[in-house]
Amino acid sequence: MDAILLQILNGLDKGSAYALIALGLTLIFGTLGVVNFAHGALFMIGAFCAVTLSRILTLSFTTIDPERTDFLGNPLKVETPYVESWFGPEIGTAIIDWSVPLAILFSIPIMAMVGLVMERGLIKYFYKRPHADQILVTFGLAIVLQEIIKYFFGANPIPTPAPPAFSGSFDFGALIGFDPNLIIYPYWRIVYFLFAGVIIGAVFAFLQFTTFGMVVRAGMADRQTVGLLGIDIDKRFTVMFAIAAIVAGLAGVMYAPINSPNYHMGMDFLVLSFVVVVVGGMGSLPGAVLAGFLLGILESFASMAQVVALLPGINQIIIYLVAIIILLTRPRGLMGRKGVMEN
């Protein structure tokens, strides 16, 4: 029982990341009709926004410490971050420690800009082209983006820790009557899950309760009719692309402390998130979220030693296996709409 609870918890944070990326993919597909294979790269760029802000906050000036020497025997150059000298060591250190949450604000304009440039500069030229062309161009774009990140940040993962206040673990087991230390879960993963919930809720609320969202939903349902009403739906869809980029970016920012960011982390998530979208139902936002959590939890279960011992290699194929079963039994996915991707 405790093992099952743990795997459900494990699945939640990974499922949160899948759900956020799949939500963005679905928004783009539902509005613009583009299959965006560069969406994983947006997640990765978000994580590197956290790395970048951390580097900006730790920009330092150099002083020479004659008492100590470096690896060559020369007097040691001591780096002191500017923020520590401006605000004092305590406040300066606190600002640096909180660089990941601060990166949320930092990343929003950057991700919006990246999204707009991407859509206006490249993707809009592929709206009327076949999906295969869209996949090829966005996949190529993803490779270009990750190589740019590698050029500036290197190939190795870059540690980007959560604030010290969230570095411990919460003992769920003790809370619900199990032995202490049996079901523990890192605080930051709880934060990530809650954060994902807030973002998903905000996107749904935006689409459901604002005039802008209403027009977008109408455009998703019948683009031509909305256009005939004199509404510039293209402009709104471009904004939705930027919003989808922000969602993916925020998912990446907050994921940075869970796994040290590296240049190919987007690719690792992209394929699975695409499967999530298909399982959830192309164009269905609730379907993407539901499938994200469902597949995240299933993947966790399949990684259990007992399961792997019973079915070797199941942990590597479970998501695809479930996708095949769901698509065979429900060809439109869990919550797919009739008519989407069927012409």
């Binding site: 993962p157 540690p159 049996l182 796994n259 690792d268 966790s300 990684s303």
Partner: protein, 451 residues
């Protein structure tokens, strides 16, 4: 009277030229390669070309960049430029700083991408198109085994870079291949006594193992070494190489009876699995009345940097570390540090040393012929290259030298100062018989000069 004379067309000129060229080239074609020269890619001019096959793209690109820096430094030193580095401390004095056998050293580079097929393709290209007489480098055992086999078939020497799997000089060993880097068995043999001293003989270990060749041999080596001390192995779980989030593999450890977690992971796998293990509070856990401990059998400074503060206090092993105080290491760190501004990694060290060892073997053999080089390297004993007295064992082409047991430093003084040397394990403790079960199968065969 000829009214229309067929003009000499451009096409007919080309055709005639091609036929003539082929006729002229025929003797060369028939006698090319080794038939006339004795061995493949024999340098006939004033230069000799070495092929540096390193990961320039892909997950180990940083290690590859450091390897390439080391090779460039080695070429400088071999050609008599710079401060000479380890040439001054190397026990063999065959190298004079005038290239190799009087020929200036030039090099070409290839990108392994840390993929066996890409590595083979780049090595093949360097051998066939660029005339490389020796291939060296790499940061993965899968790549090393694949390129070593290719070099054996082609008839050039392969001086392995960073490869730690037992198989490279075990079941997949080849006569034309040589490994300076240590291996999984040596890691296990060096670590076990240190672990016993630090954590006692009554421990229960849980292994998470990268699901490929290197992971298997490392798990086997550490498991057998620790079990010989009295530890129990509770569970061994294979993790996919592509895994990035290890939480699903870490949480079952919490529910097992284990009090030690061994992470048989390297590179990004290790960074992520260790980070996840620390996030899930394993290091704060007390099991069976003992503090829970984590072990990383193969450490590298670049990996330690990626894992950040999570490596503090965690034991592992390494082939070499820049803080060593022997004359060879100091000379190398000085040369490398002055040229690039930071200390070299263990990957850089092993690659630099391999380049020097190859050049020295050519000088001592008096030829670039691979069979001569093999003979010169087999059973070669040397010192002054950073690891103390070392033997290139003839039976398997594996270097035998001291192994370093290291620990993540509690209070690093700089971004490079991440590991502290806990023990220099003497070579006798990590030496094994050539027919040891962990290295069983395979045969060196005989050298191939490409003739």
């Amino acid at each position: 009277m000829t009214l229309i004379r067929k003009p000499l067309s451009r096409r007919s000129v080309l055709r005639a030229g091609a036929a003539g060229g082929a006729l002229l080239a025929t003797p060369t074609l028939l006698t090319s390669r080794a038939w006339a020269q004795g061995y493949l890619n024999e340098p006939t001019g004033s230069t000799v070309t070495l092929g540096f096959n390193v990961p320039q793209t892909g997950p180990y690109a940083d290690e590859g960049a450091d390897e390439l820096r080391a090779y460039e430094l080695a070429v400088e030193h071999l050609n008599g430029e710079g401060d000479g580095g380890m040439l001054g401390t190397f026990s063999s004095k065959a190298l004079k700083g005038n290239g190799i056998l009087g020929k200036k050293v030039e090099y070409v580079t290839g990108d392994t991408q840390t993929k066996s097929d890409a590595a083979r393709a780049s090595a093949k290209s360097m051998i066939e198109k660029d005339g490389a007489i020796m291939i060296t480098g790499g940061s993965s055992s899968g790549v090393a085994v694949a390129v070593q086999a290719l070099c054996q078939e082609a008839g050039v020497i392969f001086m392995a870079g960073l490869t730690h799997s037992n198989d490279t000089t075990g079941k997949d060993k080849r006569a034309n291949g040589f490994r300076h880097f240590f291996n999984s068995y040596m890691s296990g043999a060096a670590l076990a006594p240190v672990l016993k001293n630090a954590y006692g003989a009554d421990r229960k270990a849980y292994h998470l193992t990268a699901d490929y060749n290197w992971g298997y041999t490392t798990e086997q080596a550490v498991r057998e070494s620790t079990e010989a001390l009295g530890w129990d192995t509770v569970e061994t779980v294979k993790t996919p190489l592509a895994a990035t989030d290890f939480s699903a593999y870490i949480t079952p450890v919490l529910q097992s009876d284990a009090d030690v977690l061994v992470l048989n992971h390297y590179g990004g796998n290790m960074v992520n699995s260790l980070t996840n293990a620390v996030q899930f509070g394993l290091r704060d856990k007390v099991v069976n009345g003992k503090n829970f401990e984590i072990i990383v059998p193969l450490y590298s400074r670049l990996m330690a940097k990626g894992a950040g503060a999570n490596v503090k206090g965690i034991f592992g092993s390494t082939n070499w570390h820049w803080s060593l105080q022997d004359e060879g290491s100091k000379a190398f760190v000085r040369s490398f540090g002055q040229k690039y501004g930071f200390p070299p990694s263990q990957a850089a060290h092993t690659c630099y040393v391999q380049a020097l060892l190859y050049a020295d073997a050519c000088e001592r053999a008096g030829t670039f012929n691979p069979c001569g080089v093999v003979e010169a390297l087999e059973g070669f004993e040397f010192d002054g290259l950073g690891n103390g007295p070392t033997l290139y064992r003839a039976e398997d082409h594996q270097c035998f030298k001291d192994v370093l047991v290291v620990k993540g430093k509690e209070n690093p003084s700089s971004e490079f100062d991440l590991l502290e040397i806990v023990e220099v394990t003497p070579v006798e403790q990590v030496t094994y018989a050539p027919d040891h079960p962990q290295f069983a199968g395979g045969a060196l065969g005989s050298c191939n000069s490409g003739a």
